[in-house]
Symmetry: C2
Subunit: 335 residues, 2 copies
């Protein structure tokens, strides 16, 4: 990599002239500008990003911390964040907290030394469970902009982007009831996450509300220790009257659908199923899974836009906002 200094030497002019010429400064004569540009091109000159960052005190980089890249939802949000950031001239550094508090802390620390201009974070499961969030408080004090999405912490005062989980559950319930379903169950692998709790709680409320307390919620918490399919099978066997299922995450819906079929149920005639998932997952079953689309793309875009706003008006003390992304119920066949 050639530097301005080296270019200057070759052209026998000063470094600052090179710098200005490269920036097409009006101070520099046309001919000089052309000469510099020509040589720069010849040597494939590229300004050293570290030097530029140091000088400008910004990095045009966003730190993104997610609990698990292999979770399709987060992968989609990342995709969208990357796309949007790249359009705006930003790079993203992605860290995977792997649902671990310590890793989340480490990543935050490693990057909050000038490596990034701001953070976009979905907090780890452990952080939510242990309610240990001092590392984020530190960030806020250091005035590094922080946006949380999906997995957010109520106690931290920052911009947030979430979906309306309660409303989504309600929407699913209403759709099932409209189809005449009477025994609607709820299956979940994310029962200890806030979003999971919200979806579940809203389901319970909807059961109470719609069936005048005459029916009890039917909930299956799928634990990772045992085979998920057999847990679903037992659940369906033990509750043969189930005719509707809401899945809280992006795998148990498909699994429930397929287990039900293997047990001889006709879908959607015998059981209607709705899952929090996306169209790609929907296509993995026959019939296709009806989904509550979390709109990962919009979510990603929203986080980036919020962050840009903060970066532009760092001094401004605009109050933190929480943006709610609407979910879309898409009946692909299993409803």
């Amino acid at each position: 990599m050639i530097t301005q200094k080296e270019l200057a030497k070759k052209l026998n002019i000063s470094i600052s002239t090179v710098s200005k010429a490269l920036n097409n400064s009006p101070e520099i004569g046309k001919e000089t500008i052309e000469r510099v540009h020509a040589l720069a091109k010849f040597y494939k000159y590229q300004p050293n990003q570290n030097a530029v960052n140091l000088k400008k005190r910004e990095t045009k980089t966003i730190g993104v911390i997610v609990p698990n890249i292999t979770n399709r939802f987060f992968a989609k949000v990342l995709f969208s964040i990357q796309e949007e950031a790249s359009n705006l001239g930003y790079n993203i550094i992605i860290c995977n907290s792997n649902e671990s508090l310590q890793k989340e802390k480490d990543s935050l620390k490693v990057l909050s030394n000038g490596s990034v201009d701001g953070f976009i974070v979905a907090v780890s499961e452990e952080t939510q469970l242990t309610k240990n969030y001092s590392h984020f408080e530190g960030l806020v004090n250091e005035e590094i902009p922080l946006i949380m999405f999906d997995r957010v912490l109520d106690k931290i005062n920052c911009d947030k982007v979430i979906i309306d989980d309660a409303d989504a559950s309600k929407k699913a319930m209403n759709a099932l009831i409209e189809k005449g379903r009477e025994q609607i169950a709820f299956v979940s692998t994310i029962f200890d996450l806030n979003v999971g709790k919200l979806r579940e709680h809203s389901y319970e409320e909807a059961i109470k509300f719609n069936f005048n307390n005459k029916k009890k919620p039917l909930i299956l918490h799928i634990t990772p220790e045992k085979d998920s399919q057999s847990q679903i099978r037992s659940f369906l066997e033990n509750n043969p009257k189930i005719d509707g299922v809401i899945s809280a995450d992006n795998i148990s819906g498909t699994q429930t659908l397929n287990v039900a079929i293997s047990m001889g149920y006709k879908i959607p005639e015998a059981i209607s199923i709705i899952g929090f998932a996306d169209d790609a997952i929907s296509k993995l079953s026959v019939p296709k899974l009806s989904i509550l689309d979390q709109n990962a793309t919009k979510m990603g875009e929203a986080t980036v836009h919020l962050l840009m706003k903060r970066l532009k008006n760092k001094a401004d003390e605009m109050p933190k906002s929480t943006q709610i992304i609407p979910t879309v119920l898409n009946n692909a066949g299993s409803l």
Copy 2:
């Protein structure tokens, strides 16, 4: 963020003393060192990464370019790269080429200005199709280490990590033949990618070899324009003798399995199915999909290790190597 300069001012000592004290230099008195450390801790001093990078001429950052983060295979490799890199004190900047040549070029350019110490890349579909790879040649000339994985370019002289696609296909064929399957089909959504071609070609060869040219290959190319499930259904209807299927990618296997079930086939009694996928996808069907696991985790680790080797011995002209990660055939139920 507080700087050494500010610390020095507060302590009324010189900047270099602060620097040395922070590095526990023997030149500095014990008492001074302690005072500096105390104040640094108090103000949560962290060295500015850009300044350090500028000085050290390295960034401890790896640029990773993949065609699609939402593809589970790449997500898993990323997960593994991130894990391994982070263990070794490296961050990763992830770029999504979105299968586009231009984006790949842009990402490479944006990052090859000192932002990263090296690259790990799986090339985009468009790059493979158009055979336009001058941007990588440039990299090699600039002596920025480059590792390619999975989607590699034969024409580029760099370290590579791949799986033995031909061998994997053969393995799958052998397993199916052992089960007595006689009409083995091949379905693929990635027919225009090199890896897809390799898997397909090897399937064709195996058909010729095992059936003494008496049987013809039966291949379905699933195109994105039409509904994938109906393409699979037509294929199975038109070829009712099919009793074995190999899927080249990580979705068509599950889809084929479920479409077959919906058509009344018993799996695995009537049709055996094997897919290039992983255990998470395997669990989405009943019976579970038998898979050729591409070992994404090992692949990710291997890329990082190769890169580290290059970074350590930049001067060394060790010849470029190609590492082959073995695939594992895992019969989960559909075989």
